[in-house]
Amino acid sequence: MSGAPLAADDVREVDRAASSHVQVTRAYADPYVAGVALGLVLLAAFVVMGRGLGASGAFASSAAGVVSAIAPRRAATNEYFARYLAGDGPWRDWLLFELIGVILGGFFPSILAGRFRFEIARGPRLARTPRLALALAGGALMGTGAVLARGCTSGLALTGGALLSVGSWLFIAVAFASAFAVAPLVRKAWR
């Protein structure tokens, strides 16, 4: 199932490495192979922990931790944050440790593959500052969306998608429909 698209990626990677003369950059993995690997990681989480992967939950837990440190009473009476303060507390959250793993798991292989570089990934027509503003605004919108939906692409879409949760498939459909609908309006950012 790989073939033409992978070959195109290969060439792009080699071009970039050759033009920058920095280091040899390894091509990305075949997306289907990476997807199956990711699926096996998700399955391992089901089998070992009885739960799936996640990302936004770690943000919620650390936000609860920060609020609790600054204004303990406010955090304890806030219905959304209070649940993260129960048990072992917000800094011993399972998803927070998982997300620390994600950061390390992204960092080390990018070094090994020669793909680590300080840059601002952006479209060819967009300057750095507006790109960073879009990143910040996009992050904030996803934060609000993930709170309302009770999860993000990892904890809701991937995890619940594999477990056939109705809400997860609704979220996938609406999130992608909304992204496709907005994409033409922000074409200048990426094309």
Binding site: F46, V48, G138, A189
Partner: protein, 193 residues
């Protein structure tokens, strides 16, 4: 039934967190190797120039779905003990719509923004900051949102329950849809190239 292991083996709190880091490492590794630390690649999905997001997500869902289904059928995994994300129709529709806008603006999602930041990308770091601010602000403003947040609750409703079909039939249908979508996408890419 011998799995989920956490229910049958007495993992200490510390070892559960160690498992979390280990699973996260593998998760981050797969995302980075797929190229999903690069916002241009993710954004390309929404201009139909790069189908990595769709291919990775859909094949991951199908793999884990088939694995969970067969391990349950073989009596290894007790699916009743695996946490299924609960359904809240309206909050998830509204949240999904906002999330999709954020996704195309940032070119990253929460998990991939961490990978982007960890591989040196400033836009990834800013997405992480924005994500944290969004969760913080929405959490602080939770009181007026509470009623909406809790509305249209359907519990851990699954597609087989909703459609009143056997689990295996829904699994087969999703595999068939995935294979059809992959075929269409491969054709599209060949034509574009």
């Amino acid at each position: 039934m011998t799995a989920p292991l956490v229910d049958f083996a007495a993992f200490s709190a510390a070892s559960q967190l160690a498992i979390a880091v280990f699973i996260g490492l593998a998760f981050g590794f797969a995302l980075e190797r797929a190229g999903l630390g690069d916002a241009r690649k993710l954004a390309g999905q929404f201009y139909v120039t790069d189908f990595t997001v769709l291919k990775v997500m859909f094949s991951a869902i199908v793999t884990a779905m088939l694995g969970a289904y067969w391990l349950a059928r073989l009596g290894v995994l007790d699916l009743a003990r695996v946490f299924v994300p609960e359904t809240y129709v309206l909050p998830q529709l509204a949240g999904g719509a906002l999330f999709g806008i954020g996704f195309v603006l940032a070119g990253l999602c929460p998990g991939t923004s961490c990978v982007a930041a960890a591989t040196g990308r400033g836009d990834g770091a800013l997405t992480v900051v924005g994500m944290f601010a969004g969760v913080l602000a929405t959490g602080l403003a939770f009181a007026p949102l509470r009623a909406f947040y809790a509305s249209t609750a359907r519990g851990s409703l699954t597609l087989p329950q909703l459609l009143d079909l056997p689990y295996g039939v829904v699994v087969c249908a999703i595999v068939a849809i995935a294979l059809a979508v992959f075929r269409i996408v491969e054709r599209w890419e060949r034509r574009a190239a």
